[in-house]
């Protein structure tokens, strides 16, 4: 009886700890930006999902490629059909870990962090280390990151006609407002 009670208490306690330790955003912002002589190319999505494990500092992102919206319909078409091949590789993801993570980072004011993990885009997985920030801002847990990726690294071939016009590196910006994930 005592043993059963002990197990029950243990299960409930660990379940609560598990629930409290996670943070989620279903509307994380991710953008691609490339400066070209003709015009700036900017694709933005507000529909990425991110989960941050407050116990371990592990962080995950997933985004559906077709949720990236561009100012021009043609750019969106090219992005999905020619470059990302969104019907073949519908989702991109990142799974990583915050370096030197400790729980105080979740309650302290925004500070610089470094994240290392695997970025999968266009079906190609690469290990990257990117700078970012994490901390409380206006009572919310906020995360950001800015880094560059080379489309070529992910097997994305840019036709030679426009290769010179699109920068070799694309700027990626990430902004997340996390909420405690209690379920």
């Amino acid at each position: 009886m005592l043993r059963k009670l002990f197990i029950l208490v243990f299960v409930v306690a660990s379940a609560t700890a598990f629930g409290q330790g996670k943070f989620i955003s279903k509307n994380a912002y991710i953008s691609f930006y490339s400066l070209t002589p003709l015009e700036d190319i900017l694709g933005e999505s507000n529909e990425a999902v991110s989960i941050l494990n407050g116990e371990t500092g592990e962080v995950g992102f997933q985004a559906i490629m077709t949720t990236f919206h561009f100012r021009r319909a043609l750019m969106e078409e090219h992005f999905n059909e020619n470059y990302m091949e969104s019907s073949k590789y519908p989702k991109s993801k990142f799974n990583g870990k915050i370096e030197n993570f400790n729980k105080d980072m979740l309650t302290a004011p925004v500070a610089d962090i470094k994240i290392t993990g695997q970025l999968t885009v266009h079906g190609v997985e690469k290990t990257i280390t990117v700078p970012g920030t994490l901390g409380m801002q206006d009572g919310k847990l906020v995360g950001t990151s800015k880094f560059q990726v080379a489309p070529e690294d992910y097997g994305i071939t840019i036709p030679s006609v426009v290769r010179d016009k699109i920068g070799k590196q694309m700027d990626i910006t990430v902004k997340v407002n996390y909420l405690p994930y209690g379920k």
């Binding site: 279903k26 509307n27 507000n46 999902v49 559906i64 077709t66 949720t67 919206h69 021009r72 319909a73």
Partner: protein, 141 residues
Amino acid sequence: MKIRYILIIVLILFIIGAGVGLRMFFKPHADINRLKPDFKVEAAPLIDEFQKAEDAATAKYSEKVLEITGKLATKSQLPNGTTLLILEDEMQGISCQLDSNWVTANQAVIQSLEPGKPVTVKGVCKGYLMEIKVSPAVVVK
């Protein structure tokens, strides 16, 4: 004389080509309000379909125009001002980002939406990521 004709023809072809090119370049986004829905569905069975077989449902609905009727769970605004409606379940329901032009012209409709009440939206289905993503979308009724 012959050269002149050739020049004129080349010039006309060039103008047509440039016109077509510019038209393609400046092609506007499809107006979701005018698109006919490919599917008319209820929210709950649609969520079921995605949760049971995500790949099959994605192949069937992705990039298609859906008219979905269901219970409004939440109405909120994203940091960039986009109005977000979630149907059925806040965590695992149907997330609809409304078209910003449509929102500007239809503030009264958005004001009148109440969580818990049924709503019908029309939008482009983007697939499943914890919830069904629909964007851009408009409110039908």
